[in-house]
């Protein structure tokens, strides 16, 4: 069964002792945990004034590592976001861009975000909203930010009805609320957890809307495939969650 990871990162995170890997090392590490392919985004973009340099460094780093597919970070809160997006599209195939609303103070229903959504639709690029990078209770004391709340995410989703969006880093209850009645929305499993995670999640969210995500290196990679190892869900649902759903979403 081929596994396609919707959420991995390369780069530095200043607030934890995380493994530092280059692109080949990340690919090997993922492979050792049974993960064949992954979307990878630049962690350095979270705190940079604009994400361009981190995106460019990532494109250079993954050259020659075919199992990693760049999902650049775009910051619509700064004026040059069209240049950021164009630069990424010039450097390689891009099927998904990632927006970090709490780290970049992006107003999800603001004019810049509306323009970004329209531009991505025009270019056939999907958008992922990174709802959280880490548990907000564990942010560094010098960092004051909160993930967007469910009502704000609801307003955003309802502002773009029918627009395919990946909500990344949501909690179990957020996943259930935000996918209800919105078949175009996908959620990843990085922060979704409960006793028998997959059975619980699939009781609340249609299987076609759920995608596998390890959130390497911020979360322990082994934990993501562990959710599947003894999961009592059908083989077809397992296949869909582990890779087919993400592939279909990116290609739609």
């Amino acid at each position: 069964m081929k596994v396609f990871d919707a959420l991995t990162w390369l780069g530095h995170w200043p607030f934890a002792f995380l493994a530092q890997r280059n692109a080949a090392g990340l690919a090997r590490h993922l492979r050792a945990h049974g993960i064949d392919r992954a979307l990878v985004s630049p962690l350095d973009a979270a705190f940079a004034p604009e994400p361009g340099p981190a995106n460019r460094a990532l494109f250079r780093a993954v050259r020659g590592v075919p199992s990693l597919e760049v999902a650049p970070v775009i910051n619509p809160a700064v004026a040059d976001w069209r240049d950021q997006l164009q630069d990424c599209l010039d450097r390689g195939p891009v099927r998904l861009v990632r927006v970090l609303p709490s780290y970049h103070r992006v107003v999800l229903t603001g004019p810049a975000m509306r323009s970004l959504m329209a531009e991505c639709r025009r270019r056939g690029v999907k958008v992922a909203i990174q709802v959280r990078l880490i548990d907000e209770r564990h942010e560094h004391h010098a960092v004051s930010l909160r993930p967007p709340k469910v009502p704000a995410l609801t307003r955003f989703l309802d502002a773009f009805p029918g627009e395919p969006v990946l909500l990344s880093g949501v909690l179990r209850t957020e996943a259930a609320t935000l996918t209800a009645g919105r078949p175009q929305v996908r959620v990843d499993l990085a922060f979704v957890e409960w006793l028998e995670t997959l059975r619980t999640a699939l009781a609340a969210v249609p299987a076609r809307q759920v995608v596998f995500a390890s959130h390497t290196p911020i979360l322990e990679t082994a934990a993501a495939p562990a959710k599947f190892a003894r999961a009592r869900i059908s083989p077809s649902a397992k296949r869909a969650l582990l890779g087919a759903n993400l592939e279909r979403f990116l290609n739609a």
Binding site: F17, D135, R137, H138, T197, E220, A222, A223, K227
Partner: protein, 256 residues
């Protein structure tokens, strides 16, 4: 490798599942190789400050489970220290009369450094009970008046050096919690709490030694498979994994 889970809540009233759900919970634990669990009760079923009747109701569930599965469940008696010395002693004496009740569980009714903890710790010392103290870094939560920081849990353990203390939620306590715990020999940490953040288990083992880290899941809030993967995915080696997943808790709880 068989596993002993030092931090579970088999009765969870959120889904109105009743006591029967605890049997399914144990079957799910067994599917993951977990042969024995510490049952702490549904500690927030009535909010953070339960009265005596509510406490008894929560502990009755635990007593029922311990008696039903004596070889598979160790019970901890849940206490609210703010109810006062007499209430604490009454509930401890009631619970420890049942074989298999081996510890006391403290949640968020008060901070572990508060004076009301004295009778709790005296009762633990008298009966040879382990104390599991909820702890979490309060840097962002800002509820320290009733919510215990790792340094508070360590202070509690230092004040009562003859009582063995489990500081819950390694991931919530973080690096500062590990460092606070370093020179406090009667305190161990359990690996429960939050998402499986990378690096923290290995850091705890490096600073405290594998013998002071216990596997705990916090299930059903967490998934047994994920909780075990925090340990097996941390690159610790078989001996350290065996200690954390089973031996440390077995020795601490004096299980066969």
């Amino acid at each position: 490798m068989t596993v002993l889970d030092a931090h579970t809540h088999p009765h969870f009233r959120e889904h109105q599942a009743g006591r029967e759900a605890a049997d399914a919970f144990l079957r799910e634990a067994q599917r993951h190789g977990i042969e024995h669990v510490v049952a702490l009760g549904d500690v927030l079923a009535f909010g953070r400050n339960p009265d005596e009747d509510q406490l008894r109701s929560i502990n009755d569930d635990t007593l029922w489970l311990v008696q039903r599965h004596p070889r598979r469940v160790t019970g901890f008696c849940y206490l609210n220290p703010t109810l006062g010395e007499r209430a604490v002693w009454r509930e401890v004496e009631r619970c420890v009369a049942v074989p298999g009740m081996r510890g006391l569980k403290l949640e968020v009714a008060n901070n572990a450094r508060d004076a009301c903890m004295r009778p709790v710790m005296q009762a633990a010392e008298r009966h040879g009970l382990v104390v599991l103290q909820h702890a979490w870094s309060m840097t962002k939560i800002r509820q320290r008046s009733f919510h215990t920081d790792p340094e508070d849990a360590v202070l509690l353990a230092r004040r009562f050096p003859n009582v063995r203390v489990i500081m819950a939620h390694l991931t919530g306590c973080g690096v500062r919690g590990v460092l606070a715990a370093r020179d406090c020999d009667n305190l161990v940490v359990d690996t429960s709490g939050a998402a499986p953040e990378a690096g923290i288990v290995a850091y705890a083992v490096e600073k405290l030694g594998a013998e002071r880290v216990l596997y705990g899941s916090d299930a059903p809030i967490r998934d047994f498979a994920v909780a075990i993967a925090r340990i097996t995915g941390a690159g610790l080696g078989r001996d350290a994994e065996r200690r954390i997943l089973r031996e440390n808790a077995r020795e601490l709880l004096r299980l066969p």
